[in-house]
Symmetry: C2
Subunit: 295 residues, 2 copies
């Protein structure tokens, strides 16, 4: 069976063509080159270049109505709101497809095909600009009664600043990629580069011996450890998989957080922690998995 | 089918004899009147007085090996440690039976037969001396990978004192029945009665207009709201059921906590909250449910 995975992100769109379990082709396209779903469909047809597809899966960076698959709220692609993108693409491609929330897609792929391969009970944390979490049991995300479960990024764990979710002190304000840069500047970090510093620049400064960057990362990883402690107490997952851009410097992020978690744990069982394996392709692989599940 | 539920607590043992869905008889016996399992078996045979039983279920206040049903650690009945009580009672009673952890038994009963009746996805919180939590999905407790899930009482939500679990600031130190009395005294509450005050006495003082008791309860219910907020973010349960002795004065405990929860919630969906219905018999009903599940 030929399956097409479309990871439709705010910045780039990743396409993955899979024949059973082997990748046939992949491509990354700037999302801005598609003004609407018709242009996205044109791009998909150009990528396929006549190769057959049986089903497709499309990620949506936002919330989806689980029944109608209408986009309720897309953070970065407002023009998607109110549309049922999978139905519209199915018409153009001539094959059935499905839409899936991007975080759930990436977590499912990491749990089933990536670092969680073979494990029954995996909690996946993605440390990016935003922070996503998903408990994947037997290959299925436990979405919660209203689709709201896994929001580890919005556990209040510091006395920190206002979050985009209107709480104060969320984990995301301590270790989200952009927020980490902001915390460094607030603490007196010196930055002369273009734009605002993000996690990568804070890590580079820490590697260069900048004590403010080292302290900012210590605060951030302490916050991550405290959020993970809540997770162990409430959910007790079998395996933790941590990915996302902030985790790409694990010596400064994931590793100290796990050491701190072991220090803080008392009755808690600290599970094995693995780094994610699929990187920026996790969402596209998750879209392929969703495509394969279409009846 | 005649089923016997035995809720073997540290202080009292509750016996419940059920014929299909109707209660035939019940009794409460001081646990101290049984020096060992043989004496417990004598007590059960006296209660049954020749009435037939097909299966029994026994709660254990502690941890159980899930495979061998050996008691690993019983908090209040040390003489149970290392024994397989269900196997020993089965020999004396001549019928098969099973052991079940007491908190899981009570939560399952509340979810299936009590306030959660008819709901698929229920989180049960028991506010007693200790605080227990359990997520019951389709009538089954989600125990976690190592049996450690649901520990809402040991989420760190205040700057408070040392907890029995060796963390500081656990929910239990703010609203556990005995701890609530201790917090009141520390804040300057005046108590001349025998023994130490517990939740009941703090509520009585608050009802009498004692401002220290009112403030202690406000701190406690704020802590409960913050712990529940973590639960909504990570688990997103469909229904909350709150019971235990501290919840028996809901105007001073559960109701202000839920009001505070609604104030604090931003993106979170606050589920319906119901008071538990089975009271101190929840564990015995859970033991009957476990008995019914014996093959």
């Amino acid at each position: 069976m030929n399956l097409l995975g479309i990871d439709h992100g705010g910045t780039s769109t990743k396409l993955l063509l899979v024949d059973d379990d082997s990748v046939v082709d992949r491509a990354t396209v700037a999302t801005g080159s598609f003004a609407d779903l018709d242009e996205l469909a044109d791009g998909l047809l150009a990528f396929l270049a006549g190769r057959p597809v049986d089903r497709f899966g499309l990620t949506v960076a936002g919330t989806l109505d689980p029944v109608t698959q209408v986009v309720l709220s897309s953070a970065n692609l407002r023009w998607l709101d109110g549309l049922a993108p999978a139905a519209l693409l199915a018409e153009r491609l001539g094959v059935p497809g499905t839409a899936v929330q991007d975080g759930a897609a990436a977590a499912t792929a990491e749990a089933r095909l990536g670092a969680g391969r073979g494990a029954e009970d995996v909690f996946v944390v993605a440390l990016g600009t935003g922070i996503a979490g998903a408990h994947v049991m037997g290959g299925q995300v436990r979405a919660g009664a209203a689709g709201g479960a896994g929001e580890i990024g919005h556990l209040v764990v510091t006395d920190g600043p206002l979050c985009s979710c209107r709480q104060r002190g969320c984990l995301e304000t301590a270790i989200g990629g952009v927020q980490l840069g902001a915390r460094w500047l607030e603490a007196g970090g010196v930055w002369s580069g273009p734009g605002a510093p993000t996690a990568r620049e804070v890590v580079t400064a820490a590697e260069g011996g900048d004590p403010t960057a080292v302290a900012t990362l210590a605060t951030a990883t302490d916050a991550l450890a405290r959020a993970l402690l809540h997770l162990l107490a409430l959910v007790d997952p079998g395996l933790l998989v941590v990915g996302g851009g902030v985790a790409s410097a694990p010596r400064w992020t994931v590793e100290p957080a796990v050491r701190r978690l072991r220090e803080l744990a008392t009755f808690h069982r600290v599970p094995e922690v693995r780094l994610a394996e699929l990187g920026s392709w996790a969402g596209a692989h998750g879209a392929v998995l969703a495509a394969g599940a279409v009846g």
